[in-house]
Symmetry: C2
Subunit: 180 residues, 2 copies
């Protein structure tokens, strides 16, 4: 076993699903691409890492709500495009031909083209680590969608696409919430 660069260690950790996070700042909709996410126990609470370097952060902090939208591999170039321009000077819904749909609970929009959308409230911001704690309040899925493979950012500009699914439900039964 050889030592590797510590600065690349995060590329081993990050490969979760890339998500799009929409906000509404009382004037306009915006979207950011986020791959720094974590679930908090078997709950609809999520943590995301973001901060003032993202234009969306102001809206997130002020209006304290957002939508987490789950894109799939056919949307990769849009996902990367969204992550490399700013809502400060770009209408990302228009630029990337995405369709905002009204949520039921929050004012931030759902993204019609995505596999699923989760309406969320901001319940806390852990300032020291730029961790925003979200509480999912309503979730939406698009079961008609054929492409279901999500994408996982490695963090170095490459992305891993979902491959095979393996089933270990029986082996894990004792550890899963009932009825999952």
């Amino acid at each position: 076993m050889r030592q590797m660069e510590l600065s690349r260690a995060f590329t081993l950790m990050e490969p979760g699903p890339v998500v799009l996070v929409t906000t509404y700042d009382s004037e306009k909709n915006n979207i950011m691409t986020i791959s720094w996410t974590m679930v908090l126990d078997f709950t609809p609470q999520f943590a995301i890492t973001t901060g003032a370097w993202n234009y969306s952060y102001t809206a997130l902090r002020k209006n304290r709500e957002c939508v987490i939208a789950i894109p799939t591999v056919d949307m990769l170039d849009r996902v990367v495009g969204i992550g490399t321009c700013s809502g400060a000077d770009t209408d990302k819904f228009a630029k990337f031909k995405l369709t905002p749909m009204p949520g039921k609970v929050v004012k931030a929009p759902l993204i019609k083209e995505c596999l699923a959308n989760i309406e969320c409230k901001v319940i806390d911001i852990v300032q020291n680590y730029n961790i925003v704690v979200l509480e999912g309040v309503l979730a939406h899925a698009n079961p008609m969608r054929k492409e279901k493979r999500t994408i996982h950012a490695v963090g170095d500009g490459t992305f891993i696409v979902d491959g095979r699914k393996l089933d270990r439900r029986e082996m894990m039964a004792s550890k899963l919430p009932a009825g999952l």
Copy 2:
């Protein structure tokens, strides 16, 4: 788009890489399986969600160090096995035929069979959310290993294996740290 069960929303978020976290409690080594992880910016800092429900938590809190080991798909049954028994009554290295190797900085062991290992210090515990903040201090990889595909827990007992890798480095160049 149809509403889906809120209780399943976390299954959309979780698919990050499943990791093994080793600890040493001054008497013995232990391992836990964790898929609730997040990177914190382009740094070697990581957040994991764990708590007193994991036997390893006491060692993590007391000795304030651990190793994050990255398993691959050929190790799935061991990863699930580790996650479904307790260090309270099981020597998991022996039971799952894994080889502990000494780290250079921390007393928690590396796992020889894994693709990579990251030695970590616990730098904070955000009690409200059971978030443990880790600082990676040394990383190790195993470049000779043929199987490199990691596994992503969906959270319902199924696992997604890494598929194709797509390259968008050029498109993302402006957003990545130099020299990555």
